[in-house]
């Protein structure tokens, strides 16, 4: 039965492809899910024509399992279409309509070919199943496309949120903002260690001003990062500890061990400069009020090697 039905479908797809394509595109354009702002008739016709051509080949092979190798072309086309639509912001049902809207024109033709009566129903069923499967397949791929977008954004967010800044030759700063969980610590640790290798820095300042809460897990992560940096030959200073966080750390009984901690990034930087044998001093008396509008005060010139 299934094979007969496939043969019938094959006939239909071959007989009047022009009209079928026309009907199908009409159905798509008239459906409430049509998005004139995202796509147009021309594009839709192109997609539909390609799909019909691929579908014809697949149906010709006579296999009704859409996961079979003869359906690879159709699947690839749907993959591409769904992923594109997912990225363009179509909804899943708008995407699946592409396939489901093919039902109407195909069924009309099946009806004509098979005549009326109970038998016609049995002709319809396998085709119905086939188109349903294809439609569901688009939805699945659409979902996967969306998920990929989300994952990519997550990764980007993670990389964006963990910049390693060079404060001075040999001094790195790692301003942490947001909650520290295991995955993020991993990224933080990796990027910090890599930068230590690249820049040959001997001091790293981890600034936790932007970390809202510190619990035992976060503290553990911080200590791990410090330990790893130490193994690479760099000393770590933790700065930006707010009063509440200091209280929490003590109440939780977290032992920060021998790690140097400072209240502000400036204090930490001062320590770092001292370690490197550098000092900050003024090169001249503070400029008078009038001079403040001078093009550059060049604050970096104030720092000179001791």
């Amino acid at each position: 039965m299934a094979n007969d039905s496939m043969a019938l479908l094959n006939d239909i797809l071959h007989k009047d492809e022009g009209a079928l394509l026309q009907n199908w595109v009409d159905t798509q354009v008239n459906s409430p899910n049509f998005r004139p702002d995202r796509t147009n008739r021309q594009e839709l016709t192109d997609h539909s024509r390609r799909f019909l051509a691929l579908l014809r080949e697949a149906v010709k092979a006579g296999d009704s399992d859409i996961m079979a190798s003869s359906w690879t072309g159709v699947r690839e086309m749907l993959d591409e279409l769904s992923v594109n639509r997912a990225q363009q912001g179509f909804s899943p049902s708008e995407t699946a309509t592409f396939v489901f809207s093919l039902k109407q024109p195909v069924f009309d033709r099946l009806k004509n070919a098979a005549g009326s009566g109970v038998e016609a129903l049995s002709w319809l069923w396998p085709t119905n199943l086939l188109l349903d499967r294809l439609g569901l397949y688009t939805t699945e791929v659409f979902q996967r496309g969306r998920e990929r977008v989300i994952i990519r954004q997550q990764q980007e967010l993670m990389e964006l949120s963990t910049p390693v800044v060079t404060l001075w030759e040999g001094v790195l700063a790692l301003p942490l903002i947001g909650t520290l969980d295991s995955a993020r610590t991993q990224v933080v640790m990796e990027s910090l260690l890599q930068r230590i290798v690249d820049s040959g820095a001997s001091i790293a300042i981890i600034d936790i001003t932007g970390v809202p809460t510190v619990d035992t897990v976060t503290a553990q992560h911080l200590l791990k990062t410090v330990a790893a940096a130490r193994l690479m030959g760099a000393d770590c200073i933790i700065s930006g500890i707010r009063p509440q966080i200091a209280q929490t750390i003590v109440h939780l009984g977290v032992d920060l061990g021998t790690v140097i901690t400072k209240a502000t990034l400036a204090d930490a930087f001062a320590i770092a400069m001292k370690r490197l044998g550098l000092a900050v001093h003024k090169t001249q008396a503070a400029p008078r009020r009038r001079d403040e509008s001078a093009p550059d005060a060049r604050p970096s010139d104030d720092r000179r090697e001791a």
Partner: protein, 120 residues
């Protein structure tokens, strides 16, 4: 290298090799009266807990034999692995590369020499 020993680990360490390194190193320290040991592990890509502990052991042994140990050139991946294994090598001094390690060793042995001189 003068009064310092330089150990470069070029191959992946396995346990037997690690043990023989310990033996060789300790006997070498004694025979050349080394004041410092520099272990370069920049070629080491994989560590396990045993190797990690071995570094700690070597440092402790050298200390007993009056030599300072500095581990240099650890790769980021190796550092992360060791920390995840819970081995932060507290007794071992580390440096980024051989140059820095040498500097550190020199400082260490000098300051120690000064201390010895002042107590005399």
């Amino acid at each position: 290298m003068g009064e310092y020993l330089l150990v470069t680990i070029q191959v992946d360490m396995h346990d037997r090799l690690a043990m023989s390194l310990q033996d060789d190193l300790t006997s070498k320290i004694v025979s050349v009266h080394a004041r410092g040991v520099l272990i370069d592990i920049s070629a080491l890509e994989m560590v396990d807990s045993f190797i990690g502990r071995m570094f700690g052991d070597i440092a402790a042994m050298s200390r007993v034999l009056d030599a300072e140990t500095v581990v240099v050139g650890m790769r980021p991946a190796v550092a992360i692995t060791l920390v995840e294994l819970g081995l932060s090598l507290t007794g071992v001094r580390t440096a980024l590369n051989i140059e820095r390690g040498m500097e550190l060793l020199r400082n260490l042995t000098e300051s120690r020499g000064d201390d010895a001189g002042s107590t005399r």
